[in-house]
Symmetry: C2
Subunit: 77 residues, 2 copies
């Protein structure tokens, strides 16, 4: 079983990496960029009997810093 | 217009970050993890008239290192 975890910064949290990407895109001449937010995509290859609770616990304990980040779990067939 | 860019390492490319996450998950007692691959999720807030070619050029020129990374563009309404 595969699962994808999308980790993104919560709204209002400063995103220096996104700012740097935005600045670089402007520098390359891409004018139409209003905002950039950088996040993480973690692809897990899991044993078939891994429960949703286990995946959620992995996110809360390690994959996302829930103080400043949101996470979304997408199970892939 | 919003677009999401998913940047992942190509198959066969060593993923030290994924290894480290895998090792940490094992250490936390999550046994059923076969493999972990870490990637980037970049959320772009773009002007409505931004063309697909422009978004693709942003990926090839900056957001992804096309030698070792794949990228996938997902436009969000």
């Amino acid at each position: 079983m595969k699962a994808r975890i999308f980790v993104t910064l919560k709204g209002g949290v400063l995103d220096p990496q996104g700012r740097a990407i935005h600045h670089a895109l402007d520098g390359l001449g891409f004018g139409g960029v209003n905002d950039v937010r950088a996040g993480k995509l973690i692809e897990l290859d899991l044993a078939d009997d891994t429960s949703d609770e286990d995946i959620d616990a992995m996110c809360r304990k390690l994959l996302a810093n829930t103080v400043i980040e949101n996470y979304r779990i997408e199970k892939v067939a």
